[in-house]
Symmetry: C2
Amino acid sequence: MPKIKIDKESVIKEAAYMANTIGIENLSLKTLAAQLGVKSPSLYNHIDGFDDLKQQLMLYGWKELENRIIEAVIGLSGYDAIRAMCYAFHEYAIENQGVFSTMLWYNQFDNEQMNEVTSKMFTIFFKVTKSLNISQDNCVHLVRMFRSFLEGFALLENHNAFGNTQLIKDSFELSITILIEGTKKLEGK
Amino acid sequence: MPKIKIDKESVIKEAAYMANTIGIENLSLKTLAAQLGVKSPSLYNHIDGFDDLKQQLMLYGWKELENRIIEAVIGLSGYDAIRAMCYAFHEYAIENQGVFSTMLWYNQFDNEQMNEVTSKMFTIFFKVTKSLNISQDNCVHLVRMFRSFLEGFALLENHNAFGNTQLIKDSFELSITILIEGTKKLEGK
DNA sequence: GTATTTTAACAAATCATATTAGTTATGTCA
DNA sequence: TGACATAACTAATATGATTTGTTAAAATAC
């Protein structure tokens, strides 16, 4: 009877899957261990407790999202690229609600790894805006504006905080259009 | 020796104060009870458990914020009113980080009381946008855009997710300007 | 191939917090 | 003054995270 074998990667992947399916608030070391076929103390050989697990989920999510965004932007430039990135962000957040929750919530400990992983992501955004003949300072502001909107919108949509679900796609589309139109006013500034 | 007396209001107010000072993640019934000078089971005479407490905090916060926004908008109209509301929102979120967390996080159970309290708040927003000769549908989208941005920005700022803290005010100001400029394009549509 | 070492799962125990049940003290009101 | 309601309390229970120490399997060395 061979022992069940797990490793850090399988722990995090299974946790991500469970977070997305049963909801982050229902994820526990107990249920995760059960799902993996081990007892909860065994998880401590691979992660450093429950908080660490959520931190790992957060890093895992930002890396995944980064890949999605890189893919989305291939072959595009300027405002087309921005639009595509926004849609990629939104899609990921909606399809991975549990992981996305940790990305919003557990970015609070400003450790180095965290800054690294999100700055890498938004650097792509940054490069595109710089190509639009907008000053460095204003690019920083713009990235923050898009990021705030994208995270806020996905948070609200995931939490069912918007009433009429039918029109949500329209709201997203119109919002992006407005943000881009506003951005155009910064060209040359 | 008279017994210590607490009631629902003092429980919630103290919880709000503690959430804002020590952080929502450090708030527990144990510490809250200790702060109030009672034992934790006594709290159950006034609230329906820990989750209910956070739900109450959320409702409390939205009501407080509503008052702030109403005050902020007095005497203003049009884009001035929108700008003032945005700043009032931001200020409240930054000054009441713990309560604001519950406002973002515990709005997920779409109970009636919840819808009531937030819709009341954003109705003010809605009324202002309608006065700008913008269609009803587009007003809905606009309110969602502003709300997403405001909640996302405050979440990020509260979590220290922006690097350079010096420029954050500038980022907020520029973002609001862009959102308003974009909104102007919807007049008559 | 056997012995040693490492790895990682395990059982058992501990800790912290929320929650429930049942008890008692205080104050109110007839 | 006495019955009742309120709301505090103590004690007990439940759940999940975490720690400790043990052991079995796998990997490595001889």
